[in-house]
């Protein structure tokens, strides 16, 4: 037992090793279609190493025996402001791994010099059918995307526009959002369609993490705290005011209250795809005006097999209720 504890204390985290990236590092060759070798080295290997070192240092400094997975560490530290450094490093390590895991090299690539005309350039109009036909991925995943977003083109433009709109550091995620809310449990048309998870797109900024079960009811709690503070202030004021406050007793709550209460009910969000839209990713190879070009290239370099692997299994998507 004691041995285990000691072993746990000295456990540390490391950067994930992806075979394709390791090979590129050995040959010092470019990540075809997206990054030059120097950029890749800086973005993944050097930055990753720095984050890992900082994280392990912080863990030792704060005398925390780390749990086996990064996710659990994030869960432990998210509500503790004194451990923000650990939280920041843990999430950025997780996000970094997640982003580079879903990338693969693409065949056509070049790094042209992009000047200021790029921002005024008219968008290239794509044909709905053509994009749909050229998008060769697993059929189930493709159907799922189409049923959630309408078409592949709509999905693509929403994903890339979301990423494009990030000004600072941030990541655009494709997530699977379970639809197991209360309203569906008792609806008559539940069978197959009603229970299927929904795909959506969200942005996180800086070291945001996607697991929203962590921050369930956080907004509502904050509001309650604020109300408490205001009430404390009111108590100090003359009694007349207090009487009025007591009389004011709304029976119906506001819409916000209801939303906050039901927003994160029994929901666990599963990330499927991450696109890092931080400026550090495109500044070196594409220049100041290269944001759009970088994102277009990322679209070509997404490894949909990995995305498919990350999707929740079909059995878990469908669930049934016994009314006995």
């Amino acid at each position: 037992m004691s041995l285990r504890l000691i072993f746990k204390r000295y456990q540390s985290y490391s950067l994930s090793k992806f075979s394709n990236l390791e090979e590129l590092k050995l040959n010092t060759s470019d990540f075809k279609g997206l990054f030059k070798y120097s950029t890749l080295n800086e973005l993944y290997f050097q930055r990753g190493e720095k984050i890992v070192n900082e994280l392990n240092l912080q863990l030792i400094e704060n005398k925390i025996s780390p749990p086996s997975s990064l996710n659990e560490l994030i869960k432990l530290t998210i509500n503790k402001p004194e451990l923000i450094k650990i939280y920041n490093n843990a999430t950025s390590l997780q996000n970094l791994n997640f982003f580079f895991e879903n990338l693969k090299e693409s065949s056509d690539y070049s790094f042209p010099v992009i000047d200021s005309n790029e921002i005024l350039k008219s968008p290239i109009l794509e044909d709905l059918e053509e994009v749909n036909n050229n998008f060769n991925i697993d059929k189930d995943l493709k159907d799922w995307i189409i049923s959630s977003f309408g078409s592949i083109l709509q999905f693509k433009s929403l994903l890339l526009n979301s990423a494009h709109s990030i000004n600072g550091n941030g990541i655009t995620w494709l997530i699977s959002q379970p639809r197991n809310d209360e309203s569906l449990k008792f609806s008559s048309f539940s069978s197959n369609f009603g229970n299927k998870d929904k795909l959506s797109i969200v942005n996180t900024y800086n070291n945001g993490t996607i697991d929203d079960s962590l921050r369930s009811n956080q907004l509502y709690k904050n509001q309650k705290q604020k109300e408490l503070k205001e009430n404390l202030k009111l108590e100090k004021e003359p009694e007349q005011q207090e009487v009025v406050e007591e009389e004011f007793n709304p029976i119906l709550g506001t819409i916000e209250e209801a939303e906050f209460q039901n927003l994160f009910n029994e929901k666990s969000i599963i990330p499927l795809l991450a696109i890092d839209a931080s400026p550090r990713n495109y500044l070196k190879d594409y220049g100041v005006f290269g944001n759009q070009r970088y994102l277009d290239n990322v679209w070509k370099c997404i490894n949909w097999d990995i995305v498919k692997q990350r999707t929740p299994k079909k059995d878990s998507q469908n669930f049934s209720f016994d009314y006995e």
């Binding site: 008219s122 494009h164 000004n167 900024y205």
Partner: protein
């Protein structure tokens, strides 16, 4: 030579005679008349009184009149600017008819020099000097027709879809900029809509309180009515019916 009775043209005629050589010497009065040309025609012409075949029957009556009636002239017609019909206007009308919400976007009408449009280069839809709006689509369509030799429909569709693409990007950008700002701790002032909802909420709360009281009364009266059914009283059916009973019951 024909008898000349058009006094106002005398100088014109004489100079043309001089030029062509009909008159060799300049008449003595020439310079004086040239400096002060006759302002009114003083020749008296014979008036045709009576009916003539060559005359417009509508004018015959007037020809008998000896006094000139002052005609009223519609000054607004004189100064009215003639209607200018442009192809662009048709395009503009069509675009805004199909996209009526584009009108709701605020637009700056003040111009610095008046030639802002000259600075625009319509080989691309987005401009540095001008925000994206319906006018951009119109100008881009015209440019495409002229320079890329597209047909009207093709050009309009192309610029329209470019416009949609950029609009989508802009909208998401402003939405996410707000989200990003909030994540970094920005606070935004309350907008008019939420202010209105908050004001309304006060009355909704009052109503909720009143309604719950009324419902209680309604429920109790219904339960008592159930027992009094044997006496011939009908149970009240809705909240509003019982409401009436309570409000006007005292007056009767």
């Amino acid at each position: 030579m024909k008898i000349q009775n058009h006094t106002q043209k005398i100088i014109e005629r004489t100079s043309s005679f001089l030029k062509s050589g009909v008159i060799k010497q300049k008449p003595a009065w020439y310079d004086v008349v040239a400096a002060h040309p006759p302002s009114t025609d003083l020749t008296k012409n014979a008036k045709i009184l009576g009916y003539s075949n060559y005359q417009d029957p509508l004018e015959t009556k007037r020809s008998n009149q000896t006094r000139v009636k002052s005609k009223k002239i519609d000054s607004s017609k004189i100064h009215a600017i003639p209607k200018i019909k442009l192809f662009e206007d048709q395009l503009r009308n069509y675009f805004y008819a199909k996209h009526p919400w584009e009108f709701s976007r605020p637009k700056i009408l003040v111009e610095n020099e008046g030639n802002e449009t000259n600075k625009c280069d319509w080989s691309h839809l987005l401009q540095l000097n001008k925000p994206l709006d319906g006018e951009s689509v119109v100008q881009r369509t015209l440019w495409l027709i002229k320079n890329e030799k597209l047909s009207l429909n093709e050009a309009y569709d192309k610029s329209r879809f470019e416009f949609y693409n950029i609009r989508m990007r802009e909208e998401l950008q402003s939405l996410n900029a707000k989200e990003e700002g909030m994540m970094y701790g920005s606070l935004f002032a309350e907008d008019n809509l939420s202010k209105g909802v908050a004001l309304e909420q006060e009355f909704v709360d009052d109503w909720a309180k009143l309604a719950s009281e009324q419902t209680q009364i309604f429920q109790t009266t219904r339960s008592t009515n159930k027992f009094s059914d044997s006496e011939g009283n009908e149970p009240s059916k809705s909240l509003f019916e019982s409401n009436n009973d309570i409000e006007y019951g005292d007056k009767n």
